[in-house]
Amino acid sequence: MARFHFHLRDGDETIFDEEGVDLPDLSAAIREARLGARELIADAVRLDRDRVPNALVVADQDGNILYTLRLADILPPWWKPPPG
């Protein structure tokens, strides 16, 4: 088990997840990030939110970034913006 933090990057602003959560390993943390990102997108679309985080940043306890998930990456393939 290790402590993982899921920060929300919203343009140049970041919502820090001070608390974090214990998960078995990085792959479990990435799975959790994907589930969280899906819910954020679903909610943003449903509620017509004008601000949605654009990325979820998975970090360890010391603040090292382990993984960055762009919300666009989990959109269905035909919705994804062109790369670049």
């Binding site: 929300l8 919502i15 997840d17 001070e18 608390e19 589930l35 969280g36 909610d43 985080p53």
Partner: protein
């Protein structure tokens, strides 16, 4: 009489409460203590003075969603005790506190003997059913932010403005991902409604939380007043 710290017991005529008192004892309820496991017999009935009893539905993939919250304005276990039955859900202490406790068999005998006591317990059971129905409707149609605010209002009723809650726990109880709670907590904090610090929420602006919450909390309060009258 300490038993009057429970708002249901307080509503009993003194003569009726006197008949019950010898069978009541005081008990400390510790956080995370399990009062009943799903399909286990119910041995005791709890009338909290403080703290929170949480009824949760356990999910096959692990985790659990809260469907009912019981505090000093309620009781847990009377219906099951009256019918010598088991618990159909998982019941756990969410916030530590104290309760008046009565053995299930004794409660049954007293409820059969004392019509006003029986009537009070049945009324509460109707209220609790309404509470769970409201929760089901709320979970189905209301968004995370108003739901979280409703939850904070209920917590405020039962434990006050200082809440020891992790986002992990909140997310699990509400059936949402933790990241959504992080986002909503940040929004509420930015709006000056709460103060959030690792595992600790302080309600700063109660009126603001009320305005941001769905109507479910108010609905339930009016059901409660209808059945039991205004606070005594």
């Amino acid at each position: 009489v300490p038993h009057r710290n429970n708002e249901l017991l307080r509503r009993l005529e003194p003569s009726i409460l006197e008949r019950i008192t010898p069978s009541l004892s005081l008990l400390r309820l510790e956080q995370s203590e399990v009062l009943a496991a799903t399909h286990e017999p119910v041995h005791r009935v709890y009338f909290p003075h403080s703290g929170i009893i949480s009824c949760v539905v356990e999910l096959p993939g692990g985790g659990a969603i809260e469907t009912g919250m019981i505090g000093k304005d309620g009781q847990w276990g009377a219906c099951q005790a009256m019918d010598d039955r088991i618990s159909l859900n998982h019941v756990v202490i969410q916030a530590a506190g104290e309760a008046s406790v009565i053995e299930a068999g004794k409660l049954k005998t007293l409820a059969l003997e004392l019509a006003p006591f029986r009537s009070l317990l049945l009324s509460y059971d109707q209220f609790f059913t309404a509470h769970v129905q409201q929760t089901a409707a709320c979970n189905a149609v209301h968004d995370i932010q108003p739901r979280l605010c409703k939850w904070l209002l209920r917590m405020h009723d039962l434990v006050g403005t200082e809440l020891s809650l992790t986002q992990e726990f909140l997310a699990e109880m509400m059936g949402v991902r933790r990241t959504s709670v992080t986002q909503v907590a940040a929004t509420l904090q930015k709006a000056g409604l709460i103060n959030y610090k690792r595992g600790h929420i302080t309600i700063v602006d109660l009126q603001g939380i009320q305005d941001a919450a769905c109507d479910c909390h108010g609905e339930l309060q009016s059901h409660y007043e209808l059945l039991f009258g205004k606070e005594q």
